[in-house]
């Protein structure tokens, strides 16, 4: 591994890893829900709202992960990511486009020379049910085609069976296969079910070398929820204190409107801290969210809503 932060004694053995993960303080679900509900009442107005909307646009990983994806579809997505609002070049670009590995080449071509990164899901996304060799080949394939970021899935089966070492090994191996590409580790929290599991999986991914921890594939309901993201933000906050390294968080799936995205930004601001309010450390994995952000942005700047026909559908 290229990083120097790991706690070697923790990740060396399955038993040590289990001791560490099960030694973390528990998570009280009712308390988390109360905290999330309390922060949802934050009233974000005027300049604060405009800042938030631009921030959210700049944090968006514009995503298409369909069996029906074509080069044409990906090209359109890239154009949208580079210039989300054709009528207003003050609107920031999205953070990245997120596609399947075979579409990475197309995406790289159409985002070349821009700030927009290419993210690729890999490791037998979304189920992750393949051999490690296949997963690593999938990853290397995407990196070779020009992916800047890899969104891998953890082996939820292994996690739920308590084989934490196996989960960690796959993350370590994938991180190696990434080379210079950033690694986002998808926990698929909808399948982990409990917030205690979310906290353990977050730490497991962080210790194994993740650059980002990500909630969901978007293929399982529930996808991102605010209680889950709160627990993940607590994990990266606490990990910084322990390792002096800031890990990012990506909330993916189910975030469709600007208001909801601002509620997430409040969580980022007040749980992890304002240092995390950057696309380098927080992302939204979304598709339809972007147009609502653009529409609310215009409303905030002009005082009037334009109709949906004024925003591009890609």
């Amino acid at each position: 591994m290229t990083t120097a932060f790991t706690l070697p004694d923790v990740v060396t053995s399955d038993a040590a890893l289990r001791r560490f993960l099960h030694g973390l303080p528990g998570v009280d679900q009712v308390g988390v829900q109360d905290r999330v509900a309390g922060l949802a009442t934050r009233s974000i107005k005027r300049d604060a709202k405009l800042t938030a909307l631009d921030l959210a646009i700049s944090m968006t990983d514009l995503t298409t992960l369909e069996g029906a994806d074509t080069p044409g579809k990906v090209r359109a997505l890239c154009a949208k990511a580079v210039r989300p609002d054709p009528s207003d070049d003050s609107a920031p670009a999205a953070a990245a486009v997120c596609v399947y590995p075979d579409m990475v080449g197309v995406a790289a071509e159409h985002t070349a020379g821009t700030s927009v990164k290419v993210a690729s899901v890999a490791t037998a996304f979304p189920s992750g049910r393949a051999s490690l060799d296949v997963k690593l080949a999938d990853t290397k394939d995407a990196v070779a085609a020009g992916a800047d970021e890899i969104d891998m899935v953890i082996d939820r089966g292994a996690f739920l069976a308590g084989r934490y070492g196996a989960v960690a090994e796959e993350i370590v191996a994938t991180k190696e296969a990434c080379g210079d590409a950033h690694l986002k580790v998808i926990l698929e929290t909808g399948e982990l079910a409990t917030l205690d599991n979310v906290r353990r999986a977050s730490w497991l991914a962080i210790l194994a070398g993740a650059d980002f921890i990500k909630t969901s594939t978007g293929k399982i309901a529930p996808a991102a929820t605010r209680p889950v993201v709160l627990v993940m933000l607590e994990a990266v906050r606490d990990a910084e204190a322990l390792t002096q390294r800031r890990i990012g968080v990506k909330a993916a799936g189910g975030i469709r409107d600007a208001k909801e995205s601002i509620r997430y930004l409040v969580l980022v601001n007040e749980i992890a801290g304002p240092e995390w309010l950057t696309p380098d450390l927080f992302r939204f994995g979304a598709s339809s969210l972007l147009n609502d952000l653009l529409m609310q942005r215009d409303k905030q700047r002009t005082g009037a809503y334009a109709g949906p026909d004024y925003y591009t559908i890609d």
Binding site: P25, G26, V27, D28, V30, G31, V32, D34, R35, T41, R42, S43, I44, K45, R46, D47, A48, K49, T51, A52, D54, L55, S58, P92, E234, A241, L265, N269, E270, P274, E275, L277, T278, P279
Partner: protein, 479 residues
């Protein structure tokens, strides 16, 4: 991209409140001039702005109010069918919901508490209380007090300034549901929401005299306590005034319930869910600026987790937003009065003098008004005044323990006994601890949670009698 994100001011509008410059007393269904013509001013503690002049009731006014209440009880409210009384209470609860924003803004103006609390706690919890007791009104025969429980008659009710509208609900709802009438005296620093309640009582056509509201300071309260025409007195406030009332009632048949002070222990075991426990600590002592009789003012932390708990707590307190109570993003509002601020200051100074370590987050307090920064004292011993006396402000005293037995011993080592909190992920430890804690309410993995169906009240110097739920009916019934 910028990494600073300041929340823009988001003040709730004052326009929903129709503030009058003067208020009279509410007696026999009408607002009337006080007999002596005296008034006092109520101010916004966040700005020191005078909000209104309010009538000061003297013994003559109190006598008029008690007479009106007696007449209403014997002629109208007592003979009325249970189901009819319930209808009035349901109507009251609904109108409170309809006028919730107005009530919340007025409460925040007069009290200094953040609008998010008056809006999300005080007013909805008050409405819930009226709804809950409306439901009891026609079921008294099945509540366990015999087949035909009778009201006591007329109740004198004295309420504090920390939750003015909610405490009025705690008093008025059970009294009315059981067929009593009442004379309510709000605190002198926060009379306005009770006077808006009076307007709402007019709006719902509550028969005159069923609820009378006499505003004033200690003298008014004393006149009420000394009035021989009362069948019951219910008081919520300080332990010292509670003792005076009990002395005044000695030898009289008047029934009494007292809900007084507290010095609650919030016990954090080493296996607690620490992040949520920290939220519980914050909610326990900084909710309503710590102006809460059941506040978790003594933090008892197992020594083995003191450091992570304090680290998290300090980080969390750095995010508290202090200032304009009408701003929807404000977490901590103003201290209710100059007098209370002086008391908090005096007690915290004693903490410094006795050797505890004071910590406060960096925060900017407004220039005008009464303010006190959130404060944590570490290195506190049981023998320090700040561990013994009720501060009634945003001040937390942190103590440690080594074993569950020691936690219980320290928690119970207080003349008070209103509430306590237990934080552990172990269910058996919750039960073990809760059955040993001498407190009227024990919260497990939460704090300051109020429900109209749950009885509330204390041990020892925290008072006696229960309010809320089925138990809250008993003090108003001749059983």
């Amino acid at each position: 991209m910028t990494s600073t994100w300041e929340y823009a001011p988001a003040p709730e509008s004052r326009d929903v409140v129709d503030l009058r410059s003067e208020y009279g007393l509410f007696i026999d269904g009408d607002f009337v001039e006080p007999h002596g013509g005296g008034t006092f001013k109520t101010v916004n503690p966040a700005t020191e702005e005078v909000l209104a002049a309010v009538g000061e009731a003297d013994a003559e006014d109190v006598d008029r109010a008690v007479a009106a209440a007696r007449r209403a009880q014997t002629e109208v409210w007592g003979p009325m069918s249970d189901a009819e009384r319930a209808k009035y209470l349901y109507r009251l609860a609904r109108v409170i919901q309809e006028r919730a924003r107005e009530l919340a803004v007025l409460e925040t103006l007069d009290n200094g508490k953040p609008i998010k609390e008056s809006r999300d706690v005080d007013v909805p919890t008050a409405a819930a209380h009226y709804f809950s007791y409306a439901g009891w009104a026609d079921k008294l025969a099945h509540a366990g007090f015999g087949s035909d429980p009778q009201p006591l008659g007329v109740a004198g009710q004295i309420i504090p300034w920390n939750f003015p509208f909610l405490m009025a609900a705690w008093k008025v709802a059970p009294a009315l549901a059981t067929g009593n009438t009442c004379v309510l005296k709000p605190a002198e620093t926060t009379p306005l929401s009770a006077l808006l309640l009076a307007e709402i009582l007019q709006q719902i056509d509550l028969p005159p005299g069923v609820v009378n509201i006499v505003t004033g300071a200690g003298g008014t309260g004393q006149a009420l306590v000394e009035h021989p025409g009362l069948d019951k007195i219910a008081f919520t406030g300080s332990t010292s005034v509670g003792k005076q009332i009990q002395r005044a009632l000695a030898g009289r048949p008047t029934k009494l319930t007292l809900e007084l002070g507290g010095k609650a222990a919030n016990v954090i075991f080493d296996d607690a869910a620490l992040d949520q426990a920290v939220e519980g600590i914050v909610n326990g002592i900084f909710f309503n600026q710590g102006h809460v009789c059941c506040a978790g003012s003594r933090l008892l932390v197992q020594e083995s987790v003191l450091e992570p708990v304090m680290d998290r707590l300090k980080r969390r307190l750095g995010t508290l937003r202090i200032g304009d109570p009408l701003d929807k993003n404000t977490d901590l509002g103003a201290i209710n009065s100059a007098e209370q601020l002086a008391r908090i200051t005096e007690l915290t100074d004693s903490g410094d003098a006795q050797g505890a370590q004071r910590w406060q987050p960096e925060c900017q307090l407004p220039d005008r008004g009464y303010w006190f920064a959130p404060t944590v004292f570490t290195g506190v011993s049981q023998s320090h005044r700040i561990a013994r006396e009720e501060i009634f402000g945003p001040v937390l005293s942190v103590l440690t323990f080594r074993t569950p037995d020691e936690a219980v011993t320290k928690a119970n080592n207080t003349p008070y006994g209103l509430s306590a909190g237990v934080w552990t992920e172990k269910g058996s430890r919750i039960l073990w601890t809760a059955e040993r804690l001498r407190a009227g309410v024990v919260w497990a993995n939460t704090f300051n949670r109020f429900d109209p169906t749950s009885p509330f009240g204390g041990y020892q110097e925290s008072g006696f009698g229960r309010e809320g739920g089925r138990h809250g009916l008993a003090p108003y019934l001749a059983t």
